[in-house]
């Protein structure tokens, strides 16, 4: 059987292409579906654990009170549902957009060139960008938000602070807040969503849109701008390095950094990290400059590393 070389065999195309869907629509559908499933399942698991660990039946008031005293159970539910839906679920859904053999490639689950220097650069990048994030937080605070949303966010911030300051093993705290989100959210956003949007709209739009969605995904409007910046940065890192592993490391440094900061500096006031005063202009400009330099260096490192990987075998000929 001979085929016209310009027309791919219909059975070599992934399900999305065979059935007239666009990659971006599948990505949007999965972002919404995974978010709803993650919230529902996480809440369900947390409530079940709260009931299971209680010695007597609880009414709603007692449940709410118990929730405040056992935040670790809430985070267990949160982590389980992230692993199940954001991580594993995305891995399964990718099958719609890519053949089985190309699934890892679609999600950019491959090693980047650049070696240890690349990862050192990533760690440095996440440190130097903090003043810029601080500046965007200040800008975001100037944007008026409804009272009800402000109260919801204050409740979320208080919940997080109580958990970080609680008597929980640092390792578990690091896993819940650092490791799990940095793996699962990266698979969803920089793996699946970035690639799907890239196929439909190109890399620039994909990086920006996936970053903005990431920013609003956390349901914290007063932090949407800095979160979107982090999302865009992580998207760029994944695209430039052709791998989500550097983005995972960057995400881990960002999230894990806050855990370790409060562990080693317990007197630090959480509210001071979300400033209502503008950071020094010189610091912000320095942060922007340093960030751009490091990003350029990372791209160069990756390109050099990938070049070496590609042509390494020729050295032995």
């Amino acid at each position: 059987m001979s085929l016209d070389n310009n027309i791919p065999h219909q059975y070599s195309l992934p399900w999305t292409d065979r059935n007239g869907f666009t990659h971006w629509s599948i990505a949007l559908f999965w972002i919404i579906a995974s978010f709803l499933l993650f919230q529902l399942f996480g809440s369900l698991v947390s409530v079940i654990l709260l009931y299971y660990t209680s010695s007597e039946p609880l009414n709603i008031t007692e449940l709410t009170s118990r929730l405040q005293d056992h935040l670790e159970l809430v985070f267990v539910g949160n982590s389980l549902s992230q692993i199940l839906f954001l991580g594993l679920g995305t891995w399964i859904i990718t099958r719609l957009n890519a053949s089985k053999a190309r699934r890892r490639s679609y999600l950019r689950m491959s090693h980047s060139g650049g070696g240890y220097k690349l990862y050192l650069g990533i760690v440095l990048l996440m440190i130097v960008i903090q003043p810029l994030i601080w500046f965007l937080s200040w800008v975001n605070v100037q944007i008026p938000v409804s009272e009800s949303l402000m109260q919801l966010e204050e409740m979320q911030t208080q919940l997080m602070e109580n958990f970080l300051r609680g008597n929980n093993y640092i390792v578990w705290t690091f896993i819940h807040i650092g490791v799990v989100p940095s793996v699962c959210e990266e698979i969803l956003y920089r793996g699946f969503t970035l690639r799907a949007l890239e196929k439909s709209w190109g890399p620039v739009a994909a990086i920006i849109v996936s970053g903005v969605i990431f920013g609003f995904y956390h349901l914290r409007l007063t932090q949407a701008l800095p979160l979107a910046l982090i999302g865009i940065l992580l998207g760029y890192i994944a695209w430039a390095t052709s791998s989500i592993f550097p983005a995972m490391v960057a995400h881990l440094v960002n999230n894990g950094g806050s855990v370790l900061t409060l562990y080693f500096f317990p007197d630090l006031n959480f509210a001071e990290l979300s400033p209502e005063r503008m950071p020094p202009v010189w610091l912000t400009l320095l942060s922007i400059g340093a960030t751009l330099i490091i990003l350029y260096a990372l791209k160069y490192l990756t390109r050099t590393g990938l070049y070496k990987q590609k042509y390494q075998h020729y050295e032995h000929v």
């Binding site: 059987m1 016209d4 059935n19 007239g20 869907f21 666009t22 559908f29």
Partner: protein
């Protein structure tokens, strides 16, 4: 572009048919459940029944895409993809949201006390629950605010947007089902060559 897509008739009429019929049905279910709520004694059971009625409204709304795809199949001579069915379903869901919101607004204009009576009945049933006073007050305030805004432009737009997203997603799924049920057994035209049949 696929030459098959260029030969397809427009689906706008089918979307309007499906969206109009089901939007009207969803509005009727909403009105019936509202009057049932008003006439019943406040109790916790009523809240459960209202939840079931909301579920029935969703199920009714989901049939919009099935009607649209069935109507569209009358004009087709060739099959269409699931993606096209999902798109028809998405637009049908938006039409359902628009039609049901507009009909609700017309009903509010004809019967201004309807929403107020429904809200008072819901609050009275809510007070039967064994909840803390603060929580009941918070729910009451939320209901009151939503009723206050329901007639404003902002409230109408908010209702259309949230309805479009919700019904759009549901009907996108049933749109795919409709394609499977009504359209994929269509015989393609003679000049369409299935690649799997070539040698």
């Amino acid at each position: 572009m696929n030459t098959m897509d260029e030969q397809l008739p427009s689906y706008q009429k089918s979307v309007l048919v499906g969206g109009g019929i089901v939007g009207g049905l969803a509005f009727l279910v909403n009105i019936i459940s509202g009057y049932a709520q008003i006439s019943a004694e406040p109790s916790v059971t009523i809240l459960g029944i209202m939840a079931i009625m909301s579920l029935i409204t969703c199920l009714v709304a989901m049939t919009g895409a099935l009607i649209s795809t069935w109507h569209y199949s009358q004009f087709l001579e060739q099959p269409i993809t699931l993606g096209k069915g999902a798109l028809i379903g998405l637009f049908t869901g938006i039409a359902v949201a628009v039609v049901s919101t507009l009909l609700n607004q017309m009903w509010s204009a004809l019967n201004p006390d309807f929403n107020q009576q429904v809200m008072e009945s819901v609050i009275a049933s809510f007070e039967q629950l064994d909840l803390p006073e603060e929580q009941i007050q918070a729910q009451t305030d939320m209901l009151y605010n939503s009723m206050k805004n329901s007639g404003s432009i902002r409230g109408i737009l908010s209702s259309i947007i949230s309805g479009s997203v919700f019904y759009g997603i549901l009907n996108a799924l049933t749109g795919m089902l409709g394609v499977k049920l009504f359209i994929q057994n269509k015989i393609p035209p003679r000049d369409y060559i299935d690649i799997s049949e070539t040698e």
